[in-house]
């Protein structure tokens, strides 16, 4: 049988981390179990306020060995409750990866048996949600210096959603063109897709009225 991390070890590691994080101020952590395929996954879901985010991030990195920043998502909730108008969701993983040891001048690959991992070595998924109240320029503290993987994720979140990251060095547009107008963040809900209401599209469904750029020329 394939060797995978045992679900019970993962659950106990998740619970210990959640209880350790919940003891911090402004942080509320719990373990949520998701079913996927043949085995359940236990992930640590953390709700944090934006003022305590930086302290929580440093604690996660230093005390709990969370070493991998997976993704940063920004969501705009214009019709949400007044204290959740914007939301930033971070996904982290604790991978427990260290450089392989060098013995007698030869590097020995670390081939751990995943079934034996327990305690602080168990890989974990962590989800941190930060709700930002209604504001014109949402801001969250940047974690660019803690995890380098957060660097481009933060740039992309600002580029597409408009959430600013305080302390981020070198914020620029990464996916949209550099000449995009300042303040244009397409994933905000007031920007609609082209043909959003579909009427314009159905006025000329086959596109007979649209002409290519060289229509009428002899070719």
């Amino acid at each position: 049988m394939g060797k995978v991390v045992s679900a019970s070890n993962q659950k106990s590691a998740a619970e210990s981390m959640a209880s350790a994080l919940s003891s911090m101020e402004g942080v509320d952590a719990e373990v949520s179990e998701r079913k996927s395929g043949t085995s359940p996954r236990n992930i640590v879901s953390v709700d944090c306020s934006s003022e305590n985010w930086r302290i929580l991030a440093e604690c996660m990195r230093v005390e709990h060995d969370v070493d991998y920043c997976s993704m940063i998502t920004g969501i705009h909730w214009p019709e949400g409750s007044p204290d959740k108008n914007w939301e930033v969701i971070y996904h982290f993983m604790r991978m427990g990866v260290t450089d392989p040891p060098v013995i007698d001048g030869m590097v020995q690959p670390i081939i751990k048996d995943p079934t034996t991992l327990e305690g602080k070595e168990v890989p974990l998924e962590i989800e941190v949600r930060i709700a930002i109240p209604e504001t014109r320029d949402p801001k969250v503290a940047s974690v660019q210096d803690i995890w380098v993987g957060a660097d481009w994720n933060e740039k992309e979140t600002w580029d597409l959603v408009g959430i600013d990251f305080e302390g981020h060095v070198g914020m620029r547009r990464v996916l949209q063109p550099h000449e995009t107008p300042v303040g244009f963040h397409p994933l905000q809900k007031q920007h609609k897709l082209r043909y959003h209401d579909f009427e314009e599209m159905y006025d000329d469904a086959q596109g007979f009225l649209r002409k290519p750029s060289d229509a009428g020329k002899i070719k």
Binding site: Q176, P177, E179, T180, P181, F184, P186, H191, K192, L193, R194, Y195, H196, G207, R210, K211, P212, S213, D214, A215, G216, K217, I218, K219
Partner: protein, 198 residues
């Protein structure tokens, strides 16, 4: 004839060539040989152009993999004379195989303008024809024919490599029909692409 810098002692070959050329031209026109040569040479040029279409090595999105598969050993586009070149200066055909985003609109027009005449454009795949599944996107142009005049459209998402080879065949038939008329007029839509507008 006696402008500055004119050296009378050196035999002025340019005038001789011009005069001989004019005389020969008149003679050929009078005896109708010029028409025959024009037709024959035109046909030879047309044959060589359509039998050796060199597309540009440009891979935008998924259709590029089908383009690569068309060049590989199973479908083998090279037996039709289709050989990919990396520099636009050496290409005949611009094979657009993906959606054109606002950021890429400028570079692709620049690639098109760098290609020497005679040149053709093939829009491969739905994204290049009309924006494809991303027609509603804020960043994708609705088809490459908004900025570049297109000769052949190959539908499909992605079109099979056989469809791409058939598209080259349609382009060959078009070249037989119209020859290689240089298109020296700019595209009709001179509207600038305003980033930030949907």
């Amino acid at each position: 004839m006696d402008g500055d810098g004119q050296n009378y002692s050196v035999f002025n070959s340019r005038m001789l060539v011009d005069t001989v050329g004019d005389i020969t031209d008149e003679a050929l026109k009078a005896s109708r040989i010029k028409d025959v040569i024009g037709v024959l040479v035109g046909r030879v040029f047309n044959w060589s152009q359509r039998k050796s279409l060199f597309p540009l090595h440009l891979g935008i999105k998924c259709c590029a993999l089908e383009m690569a598969a068309a060049g590989a050993s199973r479908f083998d586009a090279e037996r039709f004379g289709v050989f990919f070149r990396s520099s636009p200066r050496q290409c005949d055909v611009l094979l657009v195989n993906g959606p054109i985003s606002k950021k890429f609109a400028d570079p692709i027009v620049r690639l098109w303008e760098q290609m020497p005449e005679p040149k053709w454009c093939i829009a491969m795949g739905e994204c290049a024809i009309s924006g494809g599944p991303y027609f509603q996107s804020y960043n994708v142009l609705e088809g490459v024919d908004t900025i570049i005049p297109v000769d052949v459209y190959i539908p499909g998402c992605p079109p099979r490599p056989e469809a791409l080879i058939d598209g080259f065949d349609k382009l060959r038939q078009k070249i037989i029909r119209i020859g290689a008329v240089p298109d020296d007029a700019a595209p009709e839509s001179n509207n600038p692409i305003i980033i930030g507008d949907v």
